[in-house]
């Protein structure tokens, strides 16, 4: 588990640093997507979650879902393009799980990637995670989780 400025960032995940999302590749080739602890810290307590519906095909960088915290609304963007095969329906009744367990029970969407090999190159993983998030947090002027 990597940790940058108090924000946990599991080192077995892929990240789009700019969009602050993580992705975990499952053995069946699908991708579980969620918000990073850094994104959760910036947004504060999440009070609503509205995903696109299962079956929808979303391009890389387009919105998979919107989340609401306080009165801010923002998108959660697809780390790679693909078809939404499942959404975490538990979050409809208790979206605060996203803050409480962003890498576990608080996952948002399961995607079937359209072109994982072609599009995953823009994601960071392993030893690149810490320097990438350090740079992002410095640029943002972020104080820490």
């Amino acid at each position: 588990m990597a940790n940058v400025n108090g924000c946990e960032l599991p080192d077995d995940l892929y990240y789009n640093v700019e969009d602050n999302v993580w992705a975990r590749r499952e053995t069946d080739g699908t991708l579980v997507v969620g918000m990073t602890s850094y994104a959760c810290s910036l947004s504060g307590q999440i009070v609503a979650f509205t995903p696109k519906k299962a079956g929808k095909v979303v391009e890389r960088g387009r919105s998979l879902s919107t989340v609401e915290s306080g009165k801010w609304v923002g998108p959660v963007k697809a780390p790679v393009g693909g078809e939404i095969v499942a959404v975490n329906e538990v979050l409809f009744d208790d979206p605060g799980i996203i803050n409480a367990d962003p890498y576990g029970e608080g996952w948002l969407i399961r995607l079937k990637p359209g072109d994982w090999e072609g599009e995953s190159g823009n994601l960071v993983s392993g030893g690149d995670i810490v320097p990438a998030f350090e740079a992002k947090m410095n640029e943002d002027g972020f104080g820490g989780c």
Partner: protein, 356 residues
Amino acid sequence: MAEPWNVVDTGLLGAAENMAWDRALLEAREAGEIGNTLRFLRFKPCALVGCHQSLEQELDLDYCAAQGIQVQRRITGGGAICFDPGQLGWELFLSRNALGTPDMGEIARRVCEAAAAGIRRLGVDARFRPRNDIEVGGRKISGTGGSFEGRALMYQGTLLLDFEVEQMLRVLRIPAEKLRDKAIASARERVASLKELLGEAPPVEEAKAALTGAFGQAFGVAFASAALPETVVGRYREALKEIDCPEWVNLVQKPVSDAPLLEGVAKFPGGLLRLAAAYDRRTRHLKQVWFAGDFFASPARLVNDLEARLKNITLAEAEVAIRQFLSGYPADALSLSADEVIGVLRRTVGEADGLL
């Protein structure tokens, strides 16, 4: 001095057109097609739900249809509101680093404090009340909210130049009969328009100048007025196609039965307490609570202030909030105890949960 920010006024538009401009300008700011921009807007009669709300749970849709009131979904969160040409909307489209902090709560605070300073220029003592309201003497005069997209954000608010509380409550779902008058009275005491406070509403141009001047002063920028690029107009047309469409308006659908309006009543030595609660059974949150009855409370606004504390919280949180509120409030007199108020609320919500 920094590069001037653009100021545009899109005039009086329908709900879908205004929502489409929101999306188009936010996308355009994210794409770098426009710089930091202040937009003023006004609405033809309409009711807007928050991004994640369902129309059927929040609005009296039959009434809206009969009155020709447009219904739409915002790209920002928060609760349902209604508009007519008597309100002035203001919106800032900024890069996320424009205000020098990534903290969304801090950005909201800075924008709201600047807007409050602008409203003060019109002659009322407007103040920011966390999290998102601007108030005059405890009464809301501007509700606000924000949305972000990549490295851009939009933060918007509404200034009530003139406002019909009764009309708003006809549009929203509120308790029936015995508590309806209370809900109307309560809303009237919680909301204020400039017309009510000043005797007449200031001209729209004067309100725009006051807000523009205050944003300029707070953020150390000058404003200039320039036409929007053609690419942004193109984005607006595309956004309007998506927004002026049932798929967007009905994006979130939840049954009315999941959001009952509960009523409870109990007789105590200190008087009768009647309450109504808008309750979300799925998330187990109290959306709003109203109190009425013949108990004694002084000052009279004690009850309204308590109601304001009991928004969008769980029953357990409400119990803590009631105790904290009543122990800390400078009340002259209240003929009910915290235990009595909590007891009625707990029983009312408990009965509703039992129906699940």
